[in-house]
Amino acid sequence: MTDSTVQEGKQQARRTSLIHSQPVRRFMANRTAVIGGVLMLLLIAASLLSPWLARFEPQAVDVVSRLKPPSVKHWFGTDNLGRDVFSRTLNGTKISIQVGLTVALVSSAAGLVIGLYSAYYRRLDQVLMRIMDGIFAFPAVLLAMAMMAALGPNVSNLMICLSIVFTPAVARIVRSSALVVKEQTYIEAMRALGASRTRILWLHIMPGTLSPLIVQGSFVFAESIIVEAALSFLGAGIPAPMPSLGNLLSEGKQFIYNSWWMTLYPGFALILSVLAMNWFGDGLRDMLDPHARTKRKRSRKGSMNKNTSDNNNEKVSSATQASS
């Protein structure tokens, strides 16, 4: 018996090494997720390397060569002030990613704390979640615009506003998964052992909420890039001379009939980064929460003997578990 258990242990160790672990394999098998991840990495690399990649200062005006179509010198053409669209798009992407990342991190952190505590303390729940509901009731863009109007347009204010706007969504998700974990017997077992509330909350409940949190965070990332672009486009976001993607689109709008390149390339960059993040998020969800996906597949497969199907599935999965 001991021999076989040792062997089993070794197998297990091999299986749990990171690259071959179940979740990672599941992620790699999902093609769109991998494409999304790779795209995201490329975009981040490009924006980090923008000072070297771009051959022109994004703000450098060159009136002589204004509104030039794409060429070898200016890959994406130039705008109405002769600025290089390629450098500006690269820079815009960089700003978008900065905003997206910051907002995703801040709202995840805030949402995690709020969600956890409101799941655990019922009284606090009443207060916190009502506030969250209040924020949630406004359309994201509208609320962000109102707050930007109050705070004044600059990048850090924009990050603050967007973080506030996106926190409720995260808090809700964390709260609902924390509520599920909270009812588990092992949490009750920890209480029976005499563990303090803080300890139970952060050491035992929190890890169970991490995977939905990460997934939601990735969607917040994508969403805040869109909202940032929308706000800048409307003039309520990042102040004008800064080359954010929204600003580029807004500037290009006036010249769209003659100089399509001014809108096309920044628009493309926007679509690409949001799409990449969404694909990546989808992949993450499948990787961290395999049940959601199998359920979807199962329900698609209408079965004849519906009464028995659930039962069988359970039994079969337990049989295969027992044998694997």
Partner: protein
């Protein structure tokens, strides 16, 4: 012989294709259920008893891409050779099945009357009105009080025992010749379990319906079954009629199983005799007898050669053990 038996399983193998390779969850099971007989299959979880039952109705085909070999004759027809369409005609018609958890087997959005009449009308030519009357009759047959009222209720309004009765009523809807009951009382309390087992015995007596009862509880087997098969790691290790199995168990696993029950009539000051270790995983089964690693009597022969299911003793029981004769003699000497 074959003509007498309603169901005859011959050398059934059920394979699953898992990441660890092809494993056989049921390995060469042969079993017969005669007309009007209650046959029990007992064993621990993972021994293959449920898979055997589900293989008979081929419920595993689609979900887990199980493959089979061997033969399962039902009234002389090999079920394993039927097409999926023909199989659907058998399920619910000639053979019905009830499961452990009645709540998940019932549709929460339909009244129980609607669920029973649906089954009746899909298998037999009944008018809507007659089907309702039939549903009430079936519910009364299963001992549900005030069935005229109950037909209009939803599953969540019923208790666990009542739900299991409804499941039995649905199973009876098409007057099956064989009822497969997969752990029908495991989720129920003892007093309710007693009611359900009584009901199954009564239906068997009065309707002459054969029952294949899958359970982990030897007590339940002793209550209602005529014959028993004990399964271990995908194989039948012993079959006998109930009285013989409890009086003269042949296989060390059966003996271990019987001795580990804290029954009401044993001396409670003595510790229970528990077999050491646990059931081997299907993909790393031992060579030779599958019970050998846990068996107190195992020797070199047991570890290398797989014993066959052979007749032992005088009372017609069969066991898969090299040493059962010697063991039962030893046992007899100890008692004498």
């Amino acid at each position: 012989m074959a003509s007498e038996n309603l169901l005859e399983i011959k050398a059934l193998q059920t394979y699953f294709h898992t990441e660890a390779g092809k494993v056989s969850a049921v390995d060469g099971v042969s079993l017969a259920v005669g007309a009007g007989e209650i046959v029990g299959i007992v064993g621990e979880s993972g021994c293959g008893k449920s898979v055997t039952a589900q293989s008979i109705l081929r419920l595993l085909d689609e979900k887990s891409q199980a493959s089979y070999s061997g033969e399962v004759y039902f009234e002389g027809v090999d079920l394993l050779k039927l097409s999926q369409r023909q199989m659907r005609g058998v399920r619910g018609n000639d053979i019905s099945m009830i499961f452990q958890d009645p709540l998940s087997s019932l549709n929460p959005l339909l009244t129980i009357g609607e669920q029973i009449t649906e089954t009746i009308r899909s298998h037999r030519k009944f008018s809507r009105k007659n089907a309702w009357q039939e549903a009430v009759r079936l519910l009364r047959l299963t001992g549900i009080p005030a069935p005229e009222r109950r037909v209009h209720e939803y599953p969540h309004q019923l208790s666990g025992g009542m739900r299991q009765r409804v499941m039995i009523a649905i199973a009876l809807a098409c007057e099956p010749k064989l009822l497969i009951a997969d752990e029908p009382t495991t989720a129920l309390d003892v007093t309710i379990q007693a009611q359900i087992m009584d009901l199954i015995a009564k239906l068997n007596r009065e309707l002459g319906m054969s029952v294949l009862l899958i359970t982990h509880d030897l007590g339940v087997v002793a209550e209602v079954c005529h014959r028993v098969a004990v399964m271990y790691a995908g194989q039948i290790v012993e079959t006998a009629d109930v009285a013989t199995l409890f009086r003269e168990p042949q296989h060390p696993y059966t003996i271990g199983l019987l001795q580990s029950i804290p029954s009401l009539d044993r001396d409670r000051t003595k510790p229970l005799q528990a077999v050491e270790g646990f059931v081997p995983a299907l993909h790393q089964l031992p060579k030779g007898c599958r019970f050998a690693p846990r068996c107190p009597h195992a020797d070199a022969l047991c570890r290398t050669e797989m014993p066959l299911l052979e007749s032992k003793g005088s009372s017609g029981s069969q066991a898969r053990c090299w040493h059962s004769e010697a063991l039962s003699q030893k046992e007899a000497v100890r008692h004498a």
